[in-house]
Amino acid sequence: MTSKIDRTFARLRQGGEKALIAYVMAGDPSLDMTEQLVVELEQAGADIIELGVPFSDPIADGPVIQQAAERALRSGTSLRTILSMITRLRTRTQIPLVLMAYYNNIHAFGHDRFCHEAAQAGVDGLIIPDMPPDEASSLKGPAAAAGLQLIFLLAPTSTAERRTFVARQSQGFVYYVSLTGITGAKLRNLADVGKNVEKIRKVTHVPVAVGFGVATPEDAANVAAIADGVIVGSAIVKQIAAHQQKPEMVKRVAEFVRSLKTAMRAAQSKSR
C-alpha cells in the first residue's frame, strides 16, 4: 500500500506540478486556529502540511519559528493536544500531514505509544530535525508498524557518503536543506541547490523537497523548477505572527499560500 504522501507526489507529477509543503507551528496562536489554517491552506493550494510541534529548545530553528514555539507553548500546546486536534481535523480533510518534532518530545511520549497514537490520529510522516538516521534505529520499528513514514534531511554540508546513507533511508520524500544554517535564513545560490538535488536523485527514487529560506512566490517558483517539492515555513509563520490579533488572519495567510502556489504553477506551465 502506498502512503498518502507517495500518492500526492505521484498525482502532482502526472499533472506536471510540484508539491507545496506548508509549515505551520501547531498551537500558534492556538490549536483551533491551526485547525482552521490547515483546512484553508489546503484550499489555497498547499499539497502537504507540515505541523511543527513546539519544543523549548529548538536548535535547528531561527528566531521566527523559535518565537512561534514560545507562543504555542504559552497557549498550552503539547504533543497530546496536537494529536487530538489532528483527530478532529481528519473529519474535515485528508491532506497529508507531517509532524516536525524535536526528538525529546517523542522520547518522552514513548516510541511505541507515540507512533501508534499519531497514526491513529491521522499523521502520515515524521520529520525529526535532531535525529539523523544514525540515531533512528529504535524508532524505525514502531514507525513502520504504525505506517508512519520517517523523512530524513540532507544538507549542503552532507558528503557523498552521507547523501547515499541518508537518502536511501528517507521515506515519502527527502528534505533537502537549501542552506548551511537555520530556518528562516536567506536563500542563496540556487544553482548549487539544483546541483545537490540532482545528486540526491541519483541515489534515491523518492521525491526531493527543498526547504529553509524559501520566502517569496519568486523563491517558490525557482525552487519548483529544480525540486519535486517546495517547503515554506518561516515566511508563513511570519504572516501568522503579523496578523495573529486580527480576525482575517487565516484569510491573509491563505492568500499568501495561494500566491506561492500560483507562482509555482505559472513557472511549471512556462517550462513545459
Partner: protein, 397 residues
C-alpha cells in the same frame, strides 16, 4: 567496566549524536581529526607544552590542614585547579580544542559560557592562537558575571547576549549550535563541558583527565595510597569527569558528584538532574534531563551560573547507572556557607561552583575516619563571584 564511549559515541544508553544533518559531517570530521591528533606525538607534545608553560600545570594537590582539623574527620586534599591560568580548569579543554581548531585550519572559534569561566578560557586561547572568537552567554548570566563579560571583551572576543528561554547556559548552547550550523565551514565550536554530541563528551573528558592523572600521582606521592573518596561539583560535569577518569578502574575509590540543589530539590528551583530528572535528549545527547511529562525542558535555578543547566554529561548518567559514581546535591545556602568557610579557614576563595563540592565535603568529612583520604576538586577560584555575592548580601561595592 568496558571503555566508553563506543564507536557511536554511546556510554551505555547515553550519549550519541542527536543533531541536525548540517552538523553531522562536521562532527564526523572532528571525531577523525581528534583521533589522529590523539596519536600524533607532535600534537601531544604541543599540548603538554602549553599546559605546562602557559596554564601552569601541574596544579598542586594541597593538604587543607585547617579545614581538616575544623571538620574533624578525613584528611582533605584540594586539587587546585583554581591556580590554572584564567582561574579554572576550563582552560585545559580550551587549549586542547584551540590546538585542534588550528590543526583543522578553522580561523574562527565560538563558545557558550555560563559562569564565564569557559568563555574567558576560550577568549584567552583565541588571543593566544590568533583566532577570531565569539562567545554566547545568556543575558541573565551576563548580569551575574559582569566581570567575566568585561574580561572576555578585554581579551578581544565578541560577547553576544542570548535573550531566549531562561537566558542562561542552555540558551547560550542552543545559540552557539545555531551559529555553528550557519558558519560550519570556517568555525570550530569549543564546547566547554562533557556535553553535546559525540565526540565532545569523550574529547573534553580526555582533555580534562589530566586533573585526575596528576591527582592520582600526587596523592600516591604524599600518602603512598589512593584516596577513599573523590568529590567534585557537576554542572555539565567536566571537572568531575576530569578528576574521576583516572580513578575509574580503582574500584575502592568512591566518586561523588555534587549537583546544584538551588533552593532545595523539593522547591523545584534547582539543577539536580539525578534527583528530579529522567533520561531525554537535549542539545545533541541522551542523558538525565530536567523535563516535564511532555518532554519540554524545565527551567533551572542555581546561585552558581556554571551549574545552572538542565542536563548532565552523558558519561555521568552512565557512571550513575553502573553504580560507579554517586550523585548528590547541596543548596545555594550550603554552597554560600562553604564559600565563607574555605575563605576563612584556608584563605582560598572557591568559585561558587566549586563551593558546592566543599559544601558536600563539610557534610561527609566528619563522618569519615581520620586516616581516610578525601580529594576534592577545587575547580575554580571565586574572584569572579565576589560582585555577585556582594549583591546577594545587599552590599554595594
Amino acid at each position: 567496566m568496558d571503555s566508553v564511549p563506543n564507536k557511536q559515541g554511546r556510554f551505555g544508553a547515553y550519549g550519541g549524536r542527536y543533531v541536525p544533518e548540517t552538523l553531522m559531517p562536521a562532527l564526523l570530521e572532528l571525531e577523525q581529526e581528534y583521533a589522529r591528533a590523539k596519536k600524533d606525538r607532535r600534537f601531544q607534545s604541543e599540548l603538554a607544552y602549553y599546559l605546562k608553560h602557559y596554564v601552569g600545570r601541574p596544579t598542586s594537590l594541597y593538604f587543607a590542614e585547617r579545614l581538616t582539623k575544623r571538620l574533624g574527620g578525613a584528611k582533605i586534599y584540594l586539587k587546585r585547579e583554581d591556580l590554572c591560568h584564567t582561574g579554572a580548569h576550563k582552560i585545559n579543554n580550551a587549549i586542547g580544542q584551540g590546538l585542534l581548531a588550528r590543526r583543522m585550519k578553522k580561523p574562527r572559534i565560538i563558545a557558550e559560557t555560563g559562569a564565564g569561566q569557559h568563555g574567558v578560557a576560550t577568549a584567552t586561547v583565541a588571543a593566544l592562537f590568533g583566532l577570531q572568537s565569539e562567545i554566547y552567554m545568556g543575558t541573565e548570566d551576563m548580569q551575574r558575571q559582569a566581570l567575566n563579560v568585561f574580561r572576555m571583551r578585554l581579551l578581544g572576543s565578541t560577547v553576544t547576549g542570548v535573550d531566549a528561554g531562561s537566558r542562561t547556559l542552555k540558551d547560550a548552547i542552543s545559540e552557539a549550535m545555531r551559529d555553528w550550523t550557519t558558519n560550519i565551514r570556517t568555525t570550530h565550536y569549543i564546547l566547554g563541558s562533557v556535553l553535546g554530541a559525540h565526540p565532545y563528551p569523550m574529547m573534553i573528558r580526555d582533555f580534562q583527565s589530566i586533573i585526575g592523572r596528576e591527582a592520582r600521582r600526587q596523592i600516591l606521592a604524599a600518602e603512598g595510597r589512593l584516596p577513599d573518596c573523590l568529590i567534585a561539583c557537576v554542572g555539565g560535569g567536566s571537572n568531575a569527569m576530569g578528576l574521576f577518569h583516572a580513578f575509574i578502574r580503582d574500584k575502592k575509590v568512591k566518586m561523588v558528584g555534587v549537583e546544584a540543589g538551588g533552593l532545595g530539590v523539593a522547591s523545584g528551583k534547582h539543577a539536580a538532574r539525578f534527583a528530579g530528572g529522567k533520561p531525554g535528549v537535549l542539545q545533541g545527547t541522551m542523558t538525565y534531563l530536567l523535563q516535564g511529562d511532555d518532554g519540554q525542558v524545565n527551567l533551572t535555578h542555581s546561585v552558581s551560573a556554571g551549574l545552572d543547566y538542565a542536563a548532565v554529561g552523558p558519561e555521568h548518567s552512565y557512571l550513575r547507572d553502573q553504580g560507579r559514581a554517586e550523585y548528590t546535591s547541596v543548596t545555594d545556602d550550603e554552597a554560600m556557607a562553604a564559600f565563607d568557610l574555605l575563605s576563612r579557614e584556608e584563605g582560598i576563595m572557591p568559585a561558587l561552583e566549586s563551593a558546592h563540592a566543599i559544601a558536600h565535603t563539610v557534610k561527609v568529612a566528619p563522618t569519615m575516619k581520620k586516616n581516610q583520604l578525601l580529594v576534592v576538586n577545587l575547580s575554580g577560584r571565586g574572584d569572579k563571584d565576589v560582585q555577585h555575592i556582594a549583591k546577594i548580601r545587599g552590599i554595594t561595592l
